[in-house]
C-alpha cells in the first residue's frame, strides 16, 4: 500500500462522515474533499503523524458550490512528489472555518492573507492582524 492510500485510510477512519471522497491528479497529487468541520483533525493528523509541511492555503471561488478552500500539504520528503490537498467547501454567505494556527504556526501568515483577501473567517486565530494592508486599515479581519 502506498503512502497516499494509507493516508486515505487514516483520514477515513479519523473523519468518518466528514470524509467526502478523494481523487488523484498527475504527479502523485492527492485531493481529498472533506467537510469544513473536520479540517483541524485532518490537518493535525497530517502534521503530527507524518510531519507534513503546509505549503499554503488557497481559496477558489467555485460559483454556486461556494468557496473551495485548498490546504496544500507537502509530503514529498516521505514519498516522491506526494502532496495531499484537503478541500473543504464553505458557503458564500458565511465563510467560517476553524483556524489551524493554534496547532501549527505555519498557517499563520497564509490564514491572515486569506482573511484579508477572501474574507474568510478563521475562528480561533491567535493573531488576526492585517498582513498586507496597513495595521490601521479600517476594515479589520474577522
Amino acid at each position: 500500500m502506498s503512502l497516499g492510500e494509507e493516508i486515505i485510510e487514516q483520514l477515513k477512519a479519523k473523519l468518518g462522515e466528514l470524509y467526502k471522497g478523494e481523487y488523484w491528479r498527475k504527479k502523485n497529487r492527492l485531493y481529498v474533499n472533506i467537510d469544513s468541520k473536520g479540517i483541524v483533525d485532518a490537518s493535525r493528523l497530517l502534521i503530527e503523524k507524518y510531519g507534513a509541511r503546509l505549503c499554503a492555503i488557497s481559496v477558489v471561488d467555485a460559483g454556486l458550490r461556494g468557496l473551495d478552500i485548498v490546504y496544500h500539504f507537502a509530503l514529498d520528503h516521505l514519498e516522491k512528489s506526494l502532496h495531499v490537498h484537503l478541500k473543504p467547501t464553505l458557503p458564500h454567505d458565511n465563510p467560517e472555518i476553524d483556524s489551524i494556527t493554534p496547532y501549527t504556526p505555519q498557517a499563520n501568515w497564509t490564514e491572515r492573507e486569506m482573511m484579508e483577501l477572501a474574507g474568510i473567517k478563521f475562528k480561533g486565530h491567535p493573531d488576526p492582524r492585517h498582513i498586507f494592508l496597513p495595521y490601521e486599515w479600517p476594515e479589520q479581519p474577522k
Binding site: 509541511r53 488557497s58 514529498d76 520528503h77 512528489s81 505555519q106 497564509t110 474574507g119
Partner: protein, 407 residues
Amino acid sequence: MLGKIEDKASAVESKDIVVPIGPFHPALIEPVYFRLWVQGERIVNADIKVGFCHRGIMRLMEDRSFQRNIYLAERVCGICSHSHSTAYCETVEQLGDIEVPDRARYIRTLVFELERIHSHLLWAGVGMDLIGFETLFMLLWRDREQVMDLIEAATGNRVIKSINTIGGVRRDISKDMLGKIEDKLKVLEKATLNAVEAVVGDPIIKARVKGIGILTTADAKRMGAVGPTARASGVNIDVRRDDPYSAYNEVTFDVITRSEGDLYAKVEVRLLELLQSISICKQCVDKLKTLGGSIVAETIPEFAPGEEAFGKVEAPRGELMYYIVSNGTNIPERVRMRTPSYVNNPTLPLQLIDETIADAPIIIAGIDPCLSCTDRMVEVIDAKSGKSETNTLREIALRYGRKWRRT
C-alpha cells in the same frame, strides 16, 4: 504556540527603544518594515510588517490568457524570474497534459541553474556588504558578471530571461554557445572555489557570522521553512530531489545540509550549492551537445473546466509553489502562488531575538528575503469609513489603481 515571540511580547516594557528598520533602509533592498525593541544593543522583540510591494499580480493573472501570464509570472521577482516562469509553465503543462520535449527540459534546467548561481553569488555579495566587507561584495559581483554575460548571450537579457513558453522553450542554445558556456563554467568554478576560500577562511567574517541568527531544526520544521534556510538548519528537503521537474530526475547532485542553523551554516550551504549548480550545468551542457529534437511541444493545449494542477520548483530561495485552476477558456480561473520568502520571513523574529542591532541586517539578509515575492497583492477590500489618513490612502489607491474588486 507561537512560542518565543508571544512570551517575549508580554515581557516588553515601555522603556525599550523601538528601532525601526525600514520600510526604506540602506540595508534592505526592498521595502519591508521591522520594528525591533532593543535594550542597549540587544534585541528583545521583533515584529515584521510586509505589504509595501503589492502589485496585484495574482488578481491580474485571472484576467489574462495563459500565454500572456508567463511574462507576468516572470515579473513577480527579478532574481528568480526563470523559477517563476518555469513553475508557472510546468503547472500549466500538467493542467493541459502537455509533453515537453527533452531538449527543452534540459535547456530549462541549464538556465535554471545559471540563475541559481547568479542568485547565490548576488546573495553572498550582499551578505558581505552587510557585515561591512565592501571589497568582497564588489569582487563577488565581478564574478557574478560572468554568469550574467552567459545568461545574456544565451537568452537575450540579463535578468528577465523570457525563455520559457508553455510546452517548451522559445530559444535554442547553439553548439557554439554551449562551448562558450562550458569555458565560462570553468572560470566560474575557479572563482567560486576562490570565493569559498575567501569567505570561509577570513577571520573577521567568521567572527561576525558564526553563531548568530540561529534557527534550530525544531523551529525550522515548526515554521515550515524552506530552501537553503531550512537546509542550513538540518531539514533535508529539496524540491529538485523530492518532486523532480524539468530534467532534474536525470542529473545527479547532492543536497547540502548543515545542522547548526546559524548564519555561517547558511553561508556555507549557499556557497557549496554553487558548486553543485555548476556541476548540474556541466551535465546539462554535455547532454545538450548530443540531444536533438524540437524545443517546443507541437500540441495545442486544451484546458478542461474545473481542472486543477499543483506545481513546485526549487527557486534559489526555496520551494516555490503554483496552484492553477482552469475554467475551460484560455484564461485561468485562479492562480495561487506561494513564494519561498513568504514562509521564511516569519522565522525572522525567532532569529532576531537576543541578537544585537549590528547583526540585524545580516540576519535579515541571511534568509535571502525577497519582498517582492512575498507581497504579490491580490485585491483591496473596500473600506467603509475610516480615519483621514486611511481615506487618503484609499483615495490614492482609487486614483492610481487599475482594478478594484469587492469580495
